[in-house]
Symmetry: C2
Subunit: 317 residues, 2 copies
Amino acid sequence: MADSTVVPAAIIHRDPQFKYSFPATEHIYNSIESSDPLYPLHRQTARVLIVIGPSTLRSQHLDQYPSVELVVGTSAGVDHIDLAECRRRNIRVTSAGSAFSEDGADYAIGLLMDVLRRLTAADRFVRAGFWPIKGVYPLGNKLGGKRVGIVGLGNIGTLVAKRLEPFGCTIAYNSRNKKPQVPYAFYPTVLDLAANSDSLIVCCALSDKTRHIINRDVLTTLGKKGVIVNIGRGALVDEKELVKFLVEGELGGAGLDVFENEPGVPKELFTLDNVVLSPHRAILTPEAFANVREVVIGNITAFFLNKSLLSEINLCD
Amino acid sequence: MADSTVVPAAIIHRDPQFKYSFPATEHIYNSIESSDPLYPLHRQTARVLIVIGPSTLRSQHLDQYPSVELVVGTSAGVDHIDLAECRRRNIRVTSAGSAFSEDGADYAIGLLMDVLRRLTAADRFVRAGFWPIKGVYPLGNKLGGKRVGIVGLGNIGTLVAKRLEPFGCTIAYNSRNKKPQVPYAFYPTVLDLAANSDSLIVCCALSDKTRHIINRDVLTTLGKKGVIVNIGRGALVDEKELVKFLVEGELGGAGLDVFENEPGVPKELFTLDNVVLSPHRAILTPEAFANVREVVIGNITAFFLNKSLLSEINLCD
């Protein structure tokens, strides 16, 4: 419980289902949770709001925090925050910055390797006791020599590319603009990228412009041996189409950490050996939590000291 | 069926259970299989014997091929071939050389990532329908910043190290001798390496000297958070001890492609979420089979042309 004589530095906004996704917030200054009896009081005066994980923050939520000047996000993406509304209210917004980038990139490599080399399918095969009985097991494919297309060459995408280099992959990317210092081939559209890739790794931000950026045309172009890895947001992929392609054998495989209606996962995928399913946890490690805690504290400190914020979102985009 | 007027370039030695592990050998020159009616005849005169996968080749088998001068292995390791007996009979031996090295190294990274980040466990969690019900899922650990010890810095071990670099791991190794050109820390014993590592990747050859090189002492030293990845041979690890350590929670986890009594896998491991089990397939991709086919053909051609063999095993070791 907060001390009523102390004004908390920040209050917490959190959907109940994200109780697990950002532990130890109670140790960030004296920020308080909604369970605190003084929460209704401080909600009126708090200048800083910490948004836990992908908790939704729309206009009606912002109405409950009338004094807020800064929304401190704890995730890399901020698609759950109504940025236009924040801009209208002169509220600044920060994200987790690159705190999760390395773990996200690691997981993308793990998912790609898993789908290509059939690791989780192999584990299932052994645990089912099939090895001594069936013996024969379908081969996977080598990662080396594959053309890997990265959709969104931001913090995570860049780290994905670096990790892929020693595996001998040919790397290309699509992003809003060609990056001058980058040695990889740039394709101005995802469709062009798909036409020149064996696998696509989706790690761009979700916005109105990127929703369903992986659509029917992209999947058709990627083709029967193509692999999709999604560590961004579920809605970047047209999930209905993806499921259809996978079920009908029109796509080679998929490694999915995110889904359109989490925690809902299309049941048609549960019986497929060429997909790897993960409960939105690409970036969840204790090490990443420690990183994001530093970023959150850094942003709040900078705010109260009138210094530059560490990971401010440009709301004019 | 072989043409009885043509002397085959080589005959095939193959345990029945390895029917799957090296397809398309029938296209290597006019080598013949035991199913061929002329096999008993050519067995007497063939100068080259192709050994498929890890098919056992001991003295009693060699007795069946009295004219053999060259044993062409199709696997990276040759522990299934009685090298002393070959030496005694003046038979030369070749392995698959580095044909499988990249795939082996890739798989080692995949297994390590899988154990640390709990990928196959996550997939099992989702497929069981637990995500919407349980929500909370135990965190894995970040690969970056971990100290990874490589046991055996040969072809595969070197490629493992190169792949680990961009993940931000600290790499060290143990091998028979310190390698002068290598930037990683060398430890003269596996015990020393374990004392300075968070994870061990076992990728050395199996011999009398390396049997059970991962023993109780090494596991104790690696400790409760330690991870073992084995893509070498099952007998490199004292499997009984490994199982005991895993079951009792005295080791952090294991990614195992090989086992002491394949295709037997200790059933105690089937219920553990911190192990990934794979049916000896680290190097099995169509691309690797194409590579090894080239090596086999190259060795046989060189033999008949009296040129240097591509991947001859030094039998004087």
